[in-house]
């Protein structure tokens, strides 16, 4: 496994208020890392720093083998793709056109069709993006991000507005791609989806990493209960780990 992303002691502060502080975060090739934690834990801020949208106030981010500050936008786009939470649909492009925009150079139509199929948006190719439902739009954006075909992918809530069947479809596809060698860091609010598909879990709270490890280490009812401030029960159902809140 080669290291794709290595962030050390990353701090990001606005007006001396630290949104994240001293965060260590790694992603290797073939790895699917779930970033979990309550609202306001600093997950999206961490991703903005890792994506190069924000510049860390302190600490270092190494992408591939170079410091992120040395890379320009085009070089970064060759190496990592990003799914953001913010969506835009002002100009009436069609789904097929939007997904093709993900290709950095020429559009490989076989790859395009495969990805449209994998995200179950083949039937939507002629639709104008503004007419899509929330879940459809999420899958279209995901397809565009996958089209970028980079070694590293940072996905901020890829399951937003997806029904349960499409959640499974997306997570299975990401899992398959990870096994083929791409590295994923994925912010997930659905702990069950995370438990079923991630190799490693990074639990954040109040701007810091509370736990980083495999399911046995992080998906612990005591740890989760303390971070989420809500009773948690971790159980096995068949081959899956299931996390449910308790009263």
């Amino acid at each position: 496994m080669t290291t794709l992303l290595d962030a050390r002691s990353v701090t990001y502060a606005i007006d001396r208020i630290e949104l994240i502080a001293g965060v260590d975060f790694r992603v290797g090739s073939g790895e699917l890392v779930a970033v979990i934690g309550p609202n306001g834990a600093g997950k999206s801020t961490l991703f903005a720093v890792l994506a190069g949208d924000l510049r860390a106030t302190d600490g270092s981010v190494v992408v591939g083998e170079r410091n992120i500050d040395e890379l320009d936008f085009a070089e970064l786009a060759e190496f990592r793709a990003v799914l953001s939470q913010r969506r835009q649909a002002g100009i009436p492009f069609r789904v097929g056109e939007v997904v093709a925009m993900g290709a950095r150079h020429s559009v490989d139509s076989a790859a395009l069709h495969e990805i449209l199929e994998a995200m179950d948006v083949s039937d939507l190719v002629d639709r104008v993006v503004g007419t899509l439902s929330g879940g459809e739009h999420t899958r279209v954006e995901l397809a565009r991000v996958l089209m970028q075909n980079t070694p590293l992918l940072l996905l901020d809530e890829p399951l937003t507005a997806l029904d349960i069947a499409h959640q499974e479809l997306v997570m299975r596809h990401l899992r398959r791609r990870a096994e083929a060698g791409q590295g994923f860091a994925v912010i997930l609010h659905d702990l069950n989806a995370a438990a079923a598909y991630a190799d490693r879990f990074v639990l954040m709270n109040r701007g810091s990493v509370v736990a980083d490890g495999d399911g046995a280490a992080v998906l612990d009812s005591g740890v989760l209960a303390e971070v989420y401030r809500c009773g948690m029960r971790v159980a096995r159902v068949g081959r899956r780990t299931v996390i449910v809140p308790t009263d």
């Binding site: 936008f73 970064l76 835009q88 002002g90 100009i91 009436p92 939007v98 503004g130 970028q148």
Partner: protein, 340 residues
């Protein structure tokens, strides 16, 4: 807006072909019609001789003077100005991801007119075009600063631009009244636009500036497509957003400013034409801007023909006619934007 409306996007080749034929037909009408009517065969003879071909009858001196020195440069200037404004409008809408953006409406035109008036005082027509270009670039960059705050709300951004335009229009008046009337064209010219000053020299100067600006816009077409996904998304796809937006806005300002220096403010071309083309052929910017050049050329040719002939021998401001057509269209778009 339903998906069905967009499903059939007319063939692009058909659209370009149709627009090109329309522009040629309008050029023919513009050359033949007017206070003096000139037969098509004689018009053709003059045009052939101007490009160095000795085909057909020898045109009369009147025909040669009217077509060769008045109407031909005027028609070509209409094409240059119309094409430039339409391409600039398409780019401006792409940069701000706001389909209500128009270079004149948002104040670039009136701002450029101030520069053109100042330029005219010192350098005549060439000075007016140069001054208009410089001022257009400055106002476009000012708009970028204002848009940073208001971009989240499209309607508010348009209001900011309209307010800027109104303030700058007042300053155009101030500068015109403060200048020597014998060298600076009257208020009417700047605010209503007119192609009556068209000469080969004006055409040449405007064509170079507008041509370079439009080329810059078309080169950045793919980046404008990516920008439509959102600034953050475009950045993630490798676009240096700040650089591209600055370059595109400077080109939009230069193109708009050069047209204002040459013919005054001709409004709504940059709003109406990209809209119609986008409906027919989709929003991909390279094609949109290229096809809008033809559409804008046709629009201004038609408006100028009407300007010269409707109340002949009195000439109407060409911008007044584009506004007569474009104003209601803008209201229609505003209404639709509110419903959506």
């Amino acid at each position: 807006m339903t998906a069905g409306k967009w499903r059939v996007r007319g063939s692009r080749r058909g659209l370009v072909g149709g627009l090109a034929i329309g522009v040629l037909a309008l050029v023919a009408l513009n050359l033949g019609m007017g206070a003096v009517s000139i037969a098509p065969s004689e018009v053709l003879a003059v045009v052939f001789r101007r490009v160095g071909l000795n085909i057909g009858e020898v045109p009369s001196a009147t025909a040669d003077a009217v077509v060769g020195t008045l109407r031909l440069p005027r028609a070509l200037l209409a094409i240059t100005v119309g094409g430039g404004l339409a391409a600039a409008g398409a780019a401006l809408q792409g940069v701000f991801r706001n389909s209500l953006a128009d270079p004149q409406l948002l104040g670039i035109g009136p701002g450029a007119a101030i520069g053109a008036v100042v330029g005219a005082v010192t350098g005549g027509v060439a000075g007016a075009i140069a001054g208009g270009t410089a001022a257009g670039v400055l106002v476009a960059l000012l708009l970028r600063r204002l848009a940073r705050r208001a971009a989240a709300e499209p309607a508010r951004f348009i209001l900011v631009g309209v307010a800027l335009g109104a303030a700058l229009t007042a300053w155009v008046g101030f500068f015109v009244f403060a200048s020597d009337r014998s060298v600076v064209p009257p208020m009417e010219f700047w605010l209503l636009g007119s192609l009556s000053g068209a000469t080969w020299r004006v055409l040449g100067t405007a064509l170079v500036l507008i041509g370079v600006g439009v080329a810059v816009l078309i080169i950045n077409g793919r980046s404008l497509d990516l920008l439509s996904l959102g600034e953050i998304q475009a950045r993630h796809l490798g676009v240096d957003v700040d650089l591209i937006v600055t370059v595109v806005l400077m080109a939009v300002g230069a193109v708009t400013g050069a047209t204002v220096g040459a013919v005054g403010v001709v409004g709504f071309v940059g709003l109406v034409v990209p809209h119609v083309v986008r409906r027919a052929a989709g929003p991909s910017h390279r094609f949109l801007m290229a096809a809008s050049i033809l559409g804008g050329a046709g629009f201004v040719l038609a408006a100028d023909l009407a300007a010269r002939t409707l109340l002949s021998p009195v000439e109407i401001g060409v911008g007044l006619l584009t506004a007569l057509a474009g104003g209601p269209f803008f209201l229609f778009l505003l209404r639709r934007a509110r419903l959506a």
